[in-house]
Amino acid sequence: MTDDGTTRVQPPESAAGAPFWAGTRERRFTLPWCRACGRPHWFPREVCPHCLSDDLDWREASGRGAVHAVSVMPAGGAGGAARGPYAVALVDLEEGVRLMTEVIGCDPETVAVGLPVRLVWQPLGDGRHLHLFEPDR
C-alpha cells in the first residue's frame, strides 16, 4: 500500500533546505546544528532559531526516534486517489527535534504514539530522497 512517490506533492527546495536535500541525494540524513549555541533545529532555516546565529553545521543524524503523534489518512484523501490509507506522523528524533513524516512498512492503524521508528528513504524521482520512517523492530 505504500506509494511510489509519483502521487506525492514534490517538495520545493529552498535555499535553507538545500544542504538537507543535497544530503538526501547520497542517502545521508543530516540536521542543522548551530556552532554558536550547540543546538540542532528543525525545520531548516538560514539562522538558528535559538540564538539567530548563521554559523550552521550539517551533521549526520541517527535516523532513530519515536512517534509523537499520528493521524491515518483514508484512501482517496489529500495525497491522491492512488494512495491507500497511510499514517502521517510527527516523530521525535533522538537528537531532540521533531519533524513531520510518514510511517510506512506496517499497517497504518498500528502506528501508535510512542512507537520506535527508524529512517527509510523513498526516491523522489529527481535524485533526491524523502525521509520516511518505519517501525524500528
Partner: protein, 395 residues
C-alpha cells in the same frame, strides 16, 4: 496601563450583524457582503459610516485588506488593521481596536469578515490546498510531501497526542459536537439543526483519524461585523453596550509540526491574561463562545482557559455541561460545527457573545448572561485570542 487592567471597560462593542443561511450559501461578492455587514452593524449601533474612523479586516482579493476595504467604502480611516491570524483575527482586531480607542487613536472602529467558500467550491474556485501549495513555503517543503489532509489532519495530530497522554476518548470529543448541535437546534439560521448522538459522530467517516466527520466544522458562506466605540459614547447609543473587559493574544507556531506542545495552545497565555485584565476568573463566565473548528479545538480551549484542569477536558465535556442547561453554555449559536463556518469563524463568536449579553437570543438565550468569552483560534491551533465581554452590570 502597566497594571495589566488597561483596557477594562474602556471600549465596547455597540453594533453587530451577521448573515448566514441554512442552505450554506449567500449571495454577493466578499466585498459587497462586507459593506452590507458594516451597514447593518452601524444601523444596529445607531451610527453611520461618517462616524467610522477605524477599520479592521483580514481578507481581500489583493494584498492590503484594510486599504482595499476602506477604499471600497469611500472612507479615510486614521486607524487601520489588516492583522491576519486566520480565524482568531477578529478577536485580535477587537483587542487592537479597544486599545486604539482607549488611547484616542480613533473613535469608532468596524471589524468585518465575509467569505463564500461554499459558493466558491460550487464555482470551482478557491480552497485550502490551492492556497497551501503556492510557493516554496516551509509548509510546502516540510509538511505537504507527507500528505497530511488539511486542515483536519493537523487537529487530528493534536487529538492523537491528547488521547495518548490523557486518555481522552472519541466519545468525549463527540459529546462536544452533540452539545453544540443541541444549541443549533434552537437557532433557525443554523445550517445543521437535526439532533445527533455520540453514536452518530462515531459512525461518521474518518477524514483523518482519530477525528470523525462530525468532529469537523462546516464549510459555508457567511459574513459578519462588529462596531466598537469608547465607553462614554457607547452609553448614549441604541443598544446596551458589551464592554471589552479583557483581551489578550498568543501565537505559538504556524505549521502544526512546529507546535511546541500539541496539548497546550496559546490560550494558556491569552486566557489568563484576558481574565486578569477583566478582573474575573473562568468560574464567573456565564456564556462561552470557543472557536470550534474541530471538537479538539474546544477541548483544548476548555483546559487552557481554565474551565477545567489540563487533561480533564474530555471528562468535563462528556458531562454535557456545554449544552443547553449546562454549567458552561458554550457555542450557543451552534458554532462552526453546526451554525456556519466560512473559512474563519471568529467574527461570529463576537456577534453571538454580544447577542447573549443583550438578551437577544430567544429560545437559546442564557438567562442573566452578564459575562461572555469569545475565544478565537487561527491557523492550525496557531494563534489564540481571548476577549472577555460584559454588560454594564459586569463593569
Amino acid at each position: 496601563m502597566a497594571d495589566g487592567r488597561g483596557l477594562r471597560g474602556r471600549a465596547a462593542i455597540v453594533g453587530v450583524a451577521d448573515e448566514v443561511s441554512p442552505t450554506g450559501m449567500i449571495d454577493g461578492s466578499v466585498r459587497a457582503l462586507e459593506a452590507r455587514m458594516i451597514k447593518a452593524a452601524l444601523a444596529d449601533a445607531g451610527l453611520s459610516l461618517a462616524d467610522v474612523n477605524g477599520v479592521a479586516c483580514n481578507n481581500s482579493p489583493g494584498w492590503a485588506p484594510s486599504l482595499e476595504l476602506a477604499e471600497y467604502l469611500g472612507i479615510q480611516p486614521r486607524w487601520t488593521d489588516s492583522t491576519q491570524t486566520g480565524g482568531s483575527s477578529f478577536e485580535i482586531h477587537v483587542e487592537h481596536a479597544a486599545a486604539a480607542i482607549a488611547l484616542g487613536l480613533c473613535e469608532v472602529a468596524v471589524v468585518v469578515y465575509a467569505a463564500t467558500p461554499r459558493s466558491d467550491h460550487q464555482r470551482g474556485t478557491g480552497g485550502w490546498r490551492t492556497r497551501q501549495t503556492a510557493g516554496a513555503t516551509p509548509a510546502a517543503e516540510w509538511e505537504l510531501p507527507f500528505g497530511l489532509r488539511m486542515p483536519m489532519g493537523a487537529y487530528a495530530l493534536a487529538a492523537s497526542r491528547h488521547m495518548a497522554r490523557y486518555g481522552t476518548t472519541s466519545e468525549q470529543l463527540a459529546q462536544i459536537a452533540v452539545s453544540t448541535r443541541e444549541w443549533a437546534a434552537m437557532n433557525p439560521a443554523a445550517r445543521l439543526r437535526d439532533p445527533i448522538t455520540v453514536e452518530d459522530v462515531l459512525a461518521s467517516p474518518m477524514p483523518a483519524s482519530p477525528l470523525h466527520k462530525l468532529d469537523c466544522c462546516l464549510v459555508t458562506d457567511g459574513a459578519g461585523a462588529v462596531v466598537l466605540t469608547g465607553a462614554d459614547r457607547a452609553r448614549d447609543l441604541t443598544r446596551p453596550p458589551a464592554y471589552v473587559l479583557g483581551a489578550a493574544t498568543c501565537h505559538t507556531h504556524s505549521m502544526i509540526s512546529e507546535m511546541p506542545d500539541l496539548c497546550v495552545t496559546g490560550a494558556a497565555v491569552s486566557g489568563p491574561a484576558a481574565f486578569a485584565m477583566a478582573g474575573i476568573g473562568p468560574g464567573e463566565v456565564d456564556v462561552a463562545q470557543l472557536y470550534d473548528s474541530f471538537t479538539i479545538t474546544v477541548l483544548l480551549a476548555l483546559e487552557d482557559l481554565g474551565f477545567c484542569a489540563k487533561g480533564e477536558g474530555g471528562a468535563f465535556a462528556a458531562e454535557g455541561v456545554l449544552g443547553p442547561g449546562g454549567a458552561l453554555p458554550t457555542n450557543t449559536s451552534g458554532g462552526g460545527l453546526a451554525y456556519t463556518h466560512p473559512g474563519q469563524f471568529g467574527i461570529f463568536l463576537l456577534v453571538e457573545a454580544v447577542r447573549q449579553l443583550r438578551g437577544d437570543c430567544g429560545p437559546r438565550q442564557v438567562e442573566g448572561a452578564e459575562v461572555a468569552v469569545a475565544h478565537g483560534s487561527g491557523g492550525v491551533l496557531s494563534a489564540m485570542a481571548t476577549v472577555v465581554l460584559g454588560t454594564e452590570a459586569a463593569l
